[in-house]
Amino acid sequence: MSATTSPLPRIRISGRSFLALTLTPEAPLEDWLSALDHQIARSAGFFAGKPIILDLGMLDAETQHLADLLPALKERGIRVMGIEGGDRTWPALADWEWPENFAGGRASAEIAIPEDDVPEAPGPRTLILENPIRSGQQVVWPDGDVIILGSVASGAEVSAGGSIHVYGPLRGRAIAGIGGNGEARIFTRALEAELVAIDGFYATAEEMNADQTSKPAQVALSGETLTFLPLT
Protein backbone atom coordinates (compact mmCIF):
# COMPACT_ATOMS: atom_id res chain seq x y z
CA MET A 1 0.00 0.00 0.00
CA SER A 2 1.53 3.10 -1.07
CA ALA A 3 1.11 6.19 0.89
CA THR A 4 -0.41 8.91 -1.12
CA THR A 5 0.59 12.23 0.04
CA SER A 6 -2.08 14.74 -0.56
CA PRO A 7 -1.09 18.28 0.03
CA LEU A 8 -2.13 19.72 3.38
CA PRO A 9 -5.09 22.02 3.07
CA ARG A 10 -4.18 25.57 2.95
CA ILE A 11 -5.07 27.56 6.00
CA ARG A 12 -7.04 30.55 5.04
CA ILE A 13 -6.50 33.51 7.22
CA SER A 14 -8.15 36.76 6.80
CA GLY A 15 -8.36 39.69 9.10
CA ARG A 16 -11.43 40.77 10.94
CA SER A 17 -11.55 43.38 13.56
CA PHE A 18 -14.04 43.65 16.35
CA LEU A 19 -14.16 46.56 18.59
CA ALA A 20 -13.47 45.21 22.04
CA LEU A 21 -15.18 47.20 24.72
CA THR A 22 -13.19 48.10 27.78
CA LEU A 23 -15.14 48.22 31.01
CA THR A 24 -13.49 50.16 33.81
CA PRO A 25 -15.17 49.48 37.14
CA GLU A 26 -14.83 51.95 39.94
CA ALA A 27 -15.16 51.48 43.68
CA PRO A 28 -17.51 51.04 45.41
CA LEU A 29 -18.31 48.07 43.21
CA GLU A 30 -21.87 47.64 44.47
CA ASP A 31 -22.79 51.07 43.22
CA TRP A 32 -20.96 50.52 39.98
CA LEU A 33 -22.78 47.22 39.41
CA SER A 34 -26.13 48.77 40.05
CA ALA A 35 -25.29 51.56 37.63
CA LEU A 36 -24.35 48.87 35.14
CA ASP A 37 -27.66 47.12 35.69
CA HIS A 38 -29.42 50.37 35.10
CA GLN A 39 -27.52 50.82 31.85
CA ILE A 40 -28.26 47.27 30.74
CA ALA A 41 -31.93 47.77 31.48
CA ARG A 42 -31.99 50.81 29.23
CA SER A 43 -30.10 49.21 26.35
CA ALA A 44 -30.84 45.54 26.45
CA GLY A 45 -28.46 43.39 24.42
CA PHE A 46 -25.78 46.00 24.12
CA PHE A 47 -23.15 43.79 25.72
CA ALA A 48 -24.47 40.56 24.22
CA GLY A 49 -21.87 38.87 22.03
CA LYS A 50 -19.38 41.67 22.40
CA PRO A 51 -15.82 41.05 23.47
CA ILE A 52 -15.13 42.84 26.69
CA ILE A 53 -11.81 43.80 28.23
CA LEU A 54 -11.98 44.38 31.95
CA ASP A 55 -9.74 47.20 33.09
CA LEU A 56 -8.97 47.02 36.80
CA GLY A 57 -6.84 50.14 36.63
CA MET A 58 -9.13 52.14 38.87
CA LEU A 59 -9.34 49.48 41.57
CA ASP A 60 -6.80 48.19 44.03
CA ALA A 61 -6.17 44.97 45.96
CA GLU A 62 -8.26 46.17 48.89
CA THR A 63 -11.40 47.00 46.91
CA GLN A 64 -14.39 45.49 48.60
CA HIS A 65 -16.22 42.66 46.84
CA LEU A 66 -13.49 42.54 44.21
CA ALA A 67 -13.52 38.73 44.20
CA ASP A 68 -17.20 38.73 43.18
CA LEU A 69 -16.78 41.14 40.30
CA LEU A 70 -16.00 38.63 37.56
CA PRO A 71 -18.81 36.23 38.52
CA ALA A 72 -21.15 39.22 38.74
CA LEU A 73 -20.27 40.22 35.18
CA LYS A 74 -20.71 36.65 33.91
CA GLU A 75 -24.09 36.56 35.54
CA ARG A 76 -25.05 39.59 33.49
CA GLY A 77 -23.98 37.87 30.28
CA ILE A 78 -20.83 39.94 29.88
CA ARG A 79 -18.01 37.88 28.34
CA VAL A 80 -14.70 39.02 29.64
CA MET A 81 -11.98 38.03 27.18
CA GLY A 82 -9.14 39.96 28.72
CA ILE A 83 -8.15 41.66 31.89
CA GLU A 84 -5.99 44.71 32.09
CA GLY A 85 -4.63 46.64 34.98
CA GLY A 86 -4.69 45.12 38.40
CA ASP A 87 -2.42 42.30 39.34
CA ARG A 88 -3.18 38.63 39.37
CA THR A 89 -1.31 38.25 42.65
CA TRP A 90 -4.06 40.22 44.44
CA PRO A 91 -5.56 37.70 46.86
CA ALA A 92 -9.11 38.61 45.88
CA LEU A 93 -8.41 37.52 42.31
CA ALA A 94 -7.04 34.09 43.28
CA ASP A 95 -10.13 32.25 42.08
CA TRP A 96 -10.54 34.14 38.83
CA GLU A 97 -10.10 32.38 35.52
CA TRP A 98 -7.62 34.78 34.05
CA PRO A 99 -7.85 34.87 30.27
CA GLU A 100 -4.69 35.20 28.22
CA ASN A 101 -3.78 38.78 27.64
CA PHE A 102 -4.01 40.31 24.25
CA ALA A 103 -1.07 42.11 22.90
CA GLY A 104 -1.42 45.48 21.35
CA GLY A 105 -4.69 47.17 21.02
CA ARG A 106 -5.36 50.78 20.46
CA ALA A 107 -7.55 52.77 22.76
CA SER A 108 -10.47 54.35 21.04
CA ALA A 109 -12.85 56.95 22.22
CA GLU A 110 -15.40 56.40 24.93
CA ILE A 111 -18.40 54.71 23.49
CA ALA A 112 -21.84 56.06 23.95
CA ILE A 113 -24.23 53.30 24.81
CA PRO A 114 -27.29 53.45 22.61
CA GLU A 115 -30.49 53.68 24.58
CA ASP A 116 -33.44 51.57 23.64
CA ASP A 117 -36.67 53.32 23.14
CA VAL A 118 -37.81 53.21 26.72
CA PRO A 119 -41.50 52.42 26.63
CA GLU A 120 -43.51 55.37 27.76
CA ALA A 121 -44.29 54.95 31.44
CA PRO A 122 -47.98 54.20 31.76
CA GLY A 123 -49.85 57.32 32.70
CA PRO A 124 -51.51 57.67 36.07
CA ARG A 125 -54.13 55.05 36.59
CA THR A 126 -57.22 55.45 38.69
CA LEU A 127 -58.52 52.93 41.17
CA ILE A 128 -62.26 52.91 41.64
CA LEU A 129 -63.65 51.17 44.71
CA GLU A 130 -67.37 50.60 44.89
CA ASN A 131 -67.53 49.21 48.41
CA PRO A 132 -67.07 51.05 51.68
CA ILE A 133 -63.60 50.79 53.20
CA ARG A 134 -63.97 49.15 56.60
CA SER A 135 -62.06 49.81 59.78
CA GLY A 136 -58.64 48.17 59.59
CA GLN A 137 -58.62 47.95 55.79
CA GLN A 138 -55.74 49.58 54.02
CA VAL A 139 -55.80 50.70 50.40
CA VAL A 140 -52.45 51.63 48.87
CA TRP A 141 -52.43 52.88 45.28
CA PRO A 142 -49.15 54.57 44.34
CA ASP A 143 -50.07 54.78 40.64
CA GLY A 144 -52.65 57.51 40.68
CA ASP A 145 -55.99 58.61 42.07
CA VAL A 146 -58.31 56.58 44.22
CA ILE A 147 -62.05 57.05 43.95
CA ILE A 148 -64.19 55.55 46.67
CA LEU A 149 -67.91 55.53 46.07
CA GLY A 150 -68.76 54.57 49.65
CA SER A 151 -67.38 55.66 52.97
CA VAL A 152 -63.99 55.29 54.60
CA ALA A 153 -64.54 54.07 58.15
CA SER A 154 -62.73 55.14 61.29
CA GLY A 155 -59.57 53.05 61.47
CA ALA A 156 -59.36 52.54 57.69
CA GLU A 157 -56.52 54.02 55.66
CA VAL A 158 -56.38 55.05 52.01
CA SER A 159 -53.03 56.02 50.46
CA ALA A 160 -52.69 57.23 46.88
CA GLY A 161 -49.94 58.57 44.68
CA GLY A 162 -52.48 61.04 43.32
CA SER A 163 -55.66 62.48 44.75
CA ILE A 164 -58.28 60.74 46.87
CA HIS A 165 -61.97 61.19 46.17
CA VAL A 166 -64.45 59.87 48.71
CA TYR A 167 -68.10 60.15 47.76
CA GLY A 168 -69.26 58.99 51.17
CA PRO A 169 -68.09 60.27 54.54
CA LEU A 170 -64.34 60.16 55.15
CA ARG A 171 -63.97 58.99 58.73
CA GLY A 172 -60.59 57.24 58.56
CA ARG A 173 -57.26 58.31 57.19
CA ALA A 174 -56.58 59.69 53.72
CA ILE A 175 -52.98 60.02 52.62
CA ALA A 176 -52.61 61.54 49.17
CA GLY A 177 -49.56 62.28 47.03
CA ILE A 178 -47.46 59.55 48.61
CA GLY A 179 -44.80 59.62 45.91
CA GLY A 180 -44.02 63.26 46.69
CA ASN A 181 -46.88 64.76 44.73
CA GLY A 182 -47.77 68.04 46.42
CA GLU A 183 -50.42 68.76 43.80
CA ALA A 184 -52.60 65.91 45.03
CA ARG A 185 -55.82 66.72 46.85
CA ILE A 186 -58.39 65.01 48.99
CA PHE A 187 -62.09 65.40 48.29
CA THR A 188 -64.96 64.12 50.36
CA ARG A 189 -68.69 64.61 50.71
CA ALA A 190 -68.36 64.65 54.52
CA LEU A 191 -65.09 65.47 56.22
CA GLU A 192 -64.85 63.53 59.48
CA ALA A 193 -61.33 62.24 58.93
CA GLU A 194 -59.02 61.05 61.68
CA LEU A 195 -56.04 62.19 59.68
CA VAL A 196 -55.39 63.67 56.26
CA ALA A 197 -51.98 64.01 54.64
CA ILE A 198 -50.62 65.29 51.34
CA ASP A 199 -47.01 64.70 50.36
CA GLY A 200 -46.08 63.97 53.97
CA PHE A 201 -47.74 67.01 55.54
CA TYR A 202 -50.50 65.86 57.83
CA ALA A 203 -53.26 67.10 60.12
CA THR A 204 -55.07 65.11 62.78
CA ALA A 205 -58.79 65.46 63.43
CA GLU A 206 -58.05 67.74 66.31
CA GLU A 207 -56.12 70.16 64.14
CA MET A 208 -58.93 70.49 61.64
CA ASN A 209 -61.46 73.27 61.66
CA ALA A 210 -64.56 72.12 63.53
CA ASP A 211 -66.77 74.25 61.25
CA GLN A 212 -66.07 71.92 58.38
CA THR A 213 -66.82 68.71 60.21
CA SER A 214 -69.23 66.49 58.30
CA LYS A 215 -69.39 68.96 55.41
CA PRO A 216 -68.23 68.50 51.82
CA ALA A 217 -64.61 69.60 51.68
CA GLN A 218 -61.39 69.45 49.79
CA VAL A 219 -57.91 69.42 51.22
CA ALA A 220 -54.96 70.84 49.29
CA LEU A 221 -51.38 71.61 50.10
CA SER A 222 -50.23 75.18 49.78
CA GLY A 223 -46.62 75.62 50.63
CA GLU A 224 -46.17 73.57 53.75
CA THR A 225 -49.67 73.87 55.16
CA LEU A 226 -52.79 71.90 54.44
CA THR A 227 -55.73 74.05 53.50
CA PHE A 228 -59.30 72.95 53.98
CA LEU A 229 -61.78 74.41 51.56
CA PRO A 230 -65.50 73.90 51.42
CA LEU A 231 -66.66 71.96 48.40
CA THR A 232 -69.72 73.53 46.96
Binding site: G155, E157, L195
Partner: protein
Protein backbone atom coordinates in the same frame (compact mmCIF):
# COMPACT_ATOMS: atom_id res chain seq x y z
CA UNK B 1 -38.87 51.32 90.23
CA UNK B 2 -41.18 51.09 87.27
CA UNK B 3 -43.70 48.30 86.95
CA UNK B 4 -45.05 46.63 83.84
CA UNK B 5 -48.64 45.57 84.40
CA UNK B 6 -50.69 43.54 81.97
CA UNK B 7 -54.48 43.68 82.01
CA UNK B 8 -55.67 40.39 80.58
CA UNK B 9 -58.56 37.93 80.68
CA UNK B 10 -58.61 35.43 77.84
CA UNK B 11 -62.29 36.11 77.21
CA UNK B 12 -63.43 39.15 75.28
CA UNK B 13 -65.89 41.75 76.47
CA UNK B 14 -65.17 41.39 80.18
CA UNK B 15 -63.78 44.91 80.57
CA UNK B 16 -60.02 44.79 79.94
CA UNK B 17 -59.87 48.08 78.07
CA UNK B 18 -62.23 49.84 80.48
CA UNK B 19 -60.11 48.56 83.36
CA UNK B 20 -56.84 49.60 81.73
CA UNK B 21 -58.17 53.13 81.25
CA UNK B 22 -59.74 53.41 84.72
CA UNK B 23 -56.82 51.95 86.66
CA UNK B 24 -54.28 53.93 84.66
CA UNK B 25 -56.16 57.18 85.18
CA UNK B 26 -56.57 56.44 88.91
CA UNK B 27 -52.83 55.76 89.32
CA UNK B 28 -51.98 58.90 87.37
CA UNK B 29 -54.40 60.98 89.44
CA UNK B 30 -52.52 59.76 92.52
CA UNK B 31 -49.36 61.32 91.14
CA UNK B 32 -47.75 58.38 89.34
CA UNK B 33 -46.58 58.66 85.74
CA UNK B 34 -48.47 56.12 83.69
CA UNK B 35 -48.47 54.95 80.09
CA UNK B 36 -51.22 52.80 78.64
CA UNK B 37 -50.11 50.55 75.78
CA UNK B 38 -52.77 49.12 73.47
CA UNK B 39 -51.69 45.67 72.29
CA UNK B 40 -54.92 44.99 70.44
CA UNK B 41 -53.35 45.52 67.03
CA UNK B 42 -56.03 45.45 64.34
CA UNK B 43 -58.90 45.99 66.78
CA UNK B 44 -57.78 48.96 68.77
CA UNK B 45 -60.21 50.54 71.22
CA UNK B 46 -58.17 52.09 73.99
CA UNK B 47 -57.81 55.35 72.03
CA UNK B 48 -61.61 55.63 71.89
CA UNK B 49 -62.10 54.89 75.56
CA UNK B 50 -59.41 57.47 76.37
CA UNK B 51 -60.95 60.00 73.98
CA UNK B 52 -57.70 60.29 72.03
CA UNK B 53 -58.84 58.88 68.68
CA UNK B 54 -58.66 62.28 67.03
CA UNK B 55 -55.02 62.72 67.96
CA UNK B 56 -53.49 59.44 66.76
CA UNK B 57 -50.74 59.88 64.17
CA UNK B 58 -48.21 57.15 64.92
CA UNK B 59 -48.74 53.92 66.80
CA UNK B 60 -47.03 51.01 68.51
CA UNK B 61 -46.30 49.26 65.21
CA UNK B 62 -44.73 52.40 63.73
CA UNK B 63 -42.42 52.54 66.74
CA UNK B 64 -41.59 48.82 66.52
CA UNK B 65 -40.76 49.14 62.83
CA UNK B 66 -38.71 52.28 63.37
CA UNK B 67 -41.00 54.56 61.31
CA UNK B 68 -41.48 56.83 64.32
CA UNK B 69 -39.90 57.27 67.72
CA UNK B 70 -41.67 56.91 71.03
CA UNK B 71 -41.94 60.63 71.65
CA UNK B 72 -43.83 61.03 68.37
CA UNK B 73 -46.24 58.21 69.09
CA UNK B 74 -47.08 58.88 72.75
CA UNK B 75 -50.27 60.85 73.28
CA UNK B 76 -50.44 62.86 76.49
CA UNK B 77 -53.81 62.94 78.20
CA UNK B 78 -55.31 66.41 78.36
CA UNK B 79 -57.08 65.88 81.68
CA UNK B 80 -54.32 64.12 83.64
CA UNK B 81 -50.87 65.30 82.53
CA UNK B 82 -48.96 62.32 83.94
CA UNK B 83 -51.04 59.90 81.85
CA UNK B 84 -49.97 58.92 78.32
CA UNK B 85 -51.26 56.53 75.68
CA UNK B 86 -49.41 54.47 73.09
CA UNK B 87 -52.13 53.47 70.61
CA UNK B 88 -52.25 50.28 68.57
CA UNK B 89 -52.42 50.17 64.80
CA UNK B 90 -55.83 49.44 63.31
CA UNK B 91 -54.64 48.53 59.82
CA UNK B 92 -52.10 45.87 60.78
CA UNK B 93 -52.36 42.50 62.47
CA UNK B 94 -50.73 40.92 65.46
CA UNK B 95 -47.91 39.42 63.38
CA UNK B 96 -46.44 42.91 63.22
CA UNK B 97 -45.67 42.60 66.94
CA UNK B 98 -42.12 41.23 66.87
CA UNK B 99 -40.59 39.96 70.09
CA UNK B 100 -37.50 42.17 69.72
CA UNK B 101 -39.58 45.22 68.84
CA UNK B 102 -41.91 44.81 71.81
CA UNK B 103 -38.95 44.21 74.13
CA UNK B 104 -37.29 47.40 72.92
CA UNK B 105 -40.43 49.52 73.32
CA UNK B 106 -41.19 48.17 76.81
CA UNK B 107 -37.59 48.75 77.92
CA UNK B 108 -37.79 52.35 76.71
CA UNK B 109 -41.15 52.92 78.41
CA UNK B 110 -39.82 51.50 81.69
CA UNK B 111 -37.25 54.30 81.76
CA UNK B 112 -39.87 57.02 81.32
CA UNK B 113 -42.83 55.90 83.41
CA UNK B 114 -43.65 54.51 86.86
CA UNK B 115 -46.33 52.27 85.39
CA UNK B 116 -46.47 50.64 81.96
CA UNK B 117 -49.97 49.20 81.64
CA UNK B 118 -50.44 46.81 78.73
CA UNK B 119 -54.00 46.32 77.50
CA UNK B 120 -54.06 42.76 76.20
CA UNK B 121 -56.28 41.65 73.33
CA UNK B 122 -58.72 38.83 73.99
CA UNK B 123 -57.60 35.32 73.23
CA UNK B 124 -54.42 33.44 73.99
CA UNK B 125 -52.58 34.01 70.71
CA UNK B 126 -49.67 36.19 69.74
CA UNK B 127 -51.14 39.53 70.75
CA UNK B 128 -52.04 38.34 74.23
CA UNK B 129 -48.69 36.62 74.66
CA UNK B 130 -46.77 39.70 73.56
CA UNK B 131 -48.79 41.87 75.96
CA UNK B 132 -48.03 39.63 78.95
CA UNK B 133 -44.47 38.59 78.14
CA UNK B 134 -42.62 41.45 79.87
CA UNK B 135 -45.08 41.92 82.73
CA UNK B 136 -44.03 42.18 86.37
CA UNK B 137 -47.62 41.91 87.48
CA UNK B 138 -50.97 41.02 86.00
CA UNK B 139 -54.54 42.06 86.58
CA UNK B 140 -56.86 39.29 85.47
CA UNK B 141 -60.25 40.75 84.63
CA UNK B 142 -63.03 38.26 85.24
CA UNK B 143 -66.80 38.39 85.13
CA UNK B 144 -68.66 36.28 87.65
CA UNK B 145 -69.74 33.62 85.17
CA UNK B 146 -68.35 30.21 84.36
CA UNK B 147 -66.95 30.80 80.89
CA UNK B 148 -65.05 33.90 81.97
CA UNK B 149 -63.66 32.11 85.02
CA UNK B 150 -62.45 29.18 83.00
CA UNK B 151 -60.75 31.47 80.45
CA UNK B 152 -59.10 33.39 83.29
CA UNK B 153 -57.81 30.14 84.70
CA UNK B 154 -56.25 29.37 81.32
CA UNK B 155 -54.62 32.81 81.23
CA UNK B 156 -53.24 32.43 84.75
CA UNK B 157 -51.63 29.18 83.62
CA UNK B 158 -50.00 31.01 80.72
CA UNK B 159 -48.81 33.85 82.97
CA UNK B 160 -47.11 31.23 85.12
CA UNK B 161 -45.41 29.46 82.24
CA UNK B 162 -44.83 31.59 79.14
CA UNK B 163 -43.81 35.01 80.46
CA UNK B 164 -40.28 36.29 80.81
CA UNK B 165 -40.52 36.22 84.60
CA UNK B 166 -41.83 32.66 84.61
CA UNK B 167 -39.01 31.54 82.32
CA UNK B 168 -36.47 33.08 84.68
CA UNK B 169 -38.11 31.19 87.55
CA UNK B 170 -39.37 34.40 89.15
CA UNK B 171 -42.84 35.01 90.49
CA UNK B 172 -45.26 37.18 88.60
CA UNK B 173 -47.72 39.01 90.86
CA UNK B 174 -51.29 38.21 89.86
CA UNK B 175 -54.44 40.00 90.95
CA UNK B 176 -58.05 39.19 90.27
CA UNK B 177 -60.41 42.00 89.38
CA UNK B 178 -64.07 41.01 89.32
CA UNK B 179 -65.99 43.27 86.96
CA UNK B 180 -69.66 43.67 86.04
CA UNK B 181 -70.58 42.35 89.43
CA UNK B 182 -74.25 42.55 90.38
CA UNK B 183 -74.72 41.71 94.07
CA UNK B 184 -78.48 41.21 93.69
CA UNK B 185 -78.10 38.70 90.92
CA UNK B 186 -75.28 37.02 92.79
CA UNK B 187 -77.45 36.65 95.90
CA UNK B 188 -80.25 35.17 93.77
CA UNK B 189 -77.73 32.64 92.50
CA UNK B 190 -77.84 33.89 88.88
CA UNK B 191 -74.16 34.68 89.07
CA UNK B 192 -71.14 33.07 90.57
CA UNK B 193 -70.40 34.55 93.98
CA UNK B 194 -67.10 36.17 94.82
CA UNK B 195 -66.10 33.26 97.01
CA UNK B 196 -66.71 30.74 94.25
CA UNK B 197 -64.57 32.68 91.79
CA UNK B 198 -61.77 33.16 94.30
CA UNK B 199 -61.92 29.50 95.23
CA UNK B 200 -61.54 28.42 91.59
CA UNK B 201 -58.83 30.89 90.60
CA UNK B 202 -57.06 31.13 93.97
CA UNK B 203 -55.27 34.42 93.39
CA UNK B 204 -55.64 37.53 95.58
CA UNK B 205 -58.63 39.78 94.93
CA UNK B 206 -57.78 43.29 93.80
CA UNK B 207 -61.31 44.62 93.73
CA UNK B 208 -64.92 44.18 92.74
CA UNK B 209 -66.33 46.57 90.17
CA UNK B 210 -70.11 46.74 90.19
CA UNK B 211 -72.06 46.55 86.94
CA UNK B 212 -72.84 50.17 86.24
CA UNK B 213 -74.25 52.46 83.61
CA UNK B 214 -71.59 55.00 84.55
CA UNK B 215 -68.88 52.80 83.06
CA UNK B 216 -70.71 52.55 79.77
CA UNK B 217 -71.46 56.27 79.67
CA UNK B 218 -67.84 57.10 80.43
CA UNK B 219 -66.61 54.89 77.57
CA UNK B 220 -68.99 56.56 75.17
CA UNK B 221 -67.79 60.06 76.01
CA UNK B 222 -64.17 58.92 75.73
CA UNK B 223 -63.09 59.17 79.35
CA UNK B 224 -62.07 56.58 81.94
CA UNK B 225 -64.82 56.23 84.54
CA UNK B 226 -62.40 57.41 87.24
CA UNK B 227 -62.18 60.76 85.43
CA UNK B 228 -65.70 61.09 84.00
CA UNK B 229 -67.72 59.98 87.03
CA UNK B 230 -65.28 60.04 89.94
CA UNK B 231 -68.03 59.74 92.54
CA UNK B 232 -69.69 56.70 91.02
CA UNK B 233 -69.48 53.33 92.72
CA UNK B 234 -67.45 51.90 89.84
CA UNK B 235 -64.95 54.76 89.95
CA UNK B 236 -64.51 54.39 93.70
CA UNK B 237 -63.96 50.67 93.28
CA UNK B 238 -61.34 51.29 90.59
CA UNK B 239 -59.65 53.92 92.75
CA UNK B 240 -59.39 51.49 95.64
CA UNK B 241 -58.04 48.82 93.29
CA UNK B 242 -55.39 51.24 92.04
CA UNK B 243 -54.35 52.01 95.61
CA UNK B 244 -54.09 48.31 96.38
CA UNK B 245 -51.95 47.87 93.26
CA UNK B 246 -49.65 50.58 94.56
CA UNK B 247 -49.26 48.60 97.77
CA UNK B 248 -51.89 50.01 100.13
CA UNK B 249 -53.79 47.59 102.31
CA UNK B 250 -57.51 48.24 101.93
CA UNK B 251 -60.32 45.86 102.64
CA UNK B 252 -62.28 44.82 99.57
CA UNK B 253 -65.91 45.82 99.72
CA UNK B 254 -68.68 45.88 97.18
CA UNK B 255 -69.30 49.59 96.74
CA UNK B 256 -72.85 50.85 96.40
CA UNK B 257 -74.11 54.11 94.96
CA UNK B 258 -73.63 56.98 97.37
CA UNK B 259 -76.83 58.98 97.36
CA UNK B 260 -76.71 62.65 98.19
CA UNK B 261 -79.35 64.32 100.35
CA UNK B 262 -80.85 66.02 97.32
CA UNK B 263 -81.11 62.76 95.44
CA UNK B 264 -82.96 61.35 98.40
CA UNK B 265 -85.30 64.32 98.71
CA UNK B 266 -85.91 64.33 94.99
CA UNK B 267 -86.63 60.62 94.98
CA UNK B 268 -89.13 61.07 97.79
CA UNK B 269 -90.79 63.95 96.03
CA UNK B 270 -91.24 61.96 92.86
CA UNK B 271 -92.55 58.80 94.35
Amino acid sequence: MSKVLVVTSGKGGVGKTTTTAALGAALAQNGQSVVLVDFDVGLRNLDLVMGAERRVVFDLINVIQGDANLAQALIKDKRVPSLSLLPASQTRDKDALTSEGVAKVIAELRKKFDWVICDSPAGIERGAQMAMYHADMAVIVTNPEVSSVRDSDRIIGMLDSTTEKAKKGEKLEKHLLLTRYDPQRASRGDMLGTDDVLEILSIPLLGIIPESGDVLRASNVGAPVTIAEPESAAARAYNDAARRLAGEKLEVTIPTERKGLFDWLFKRRVS
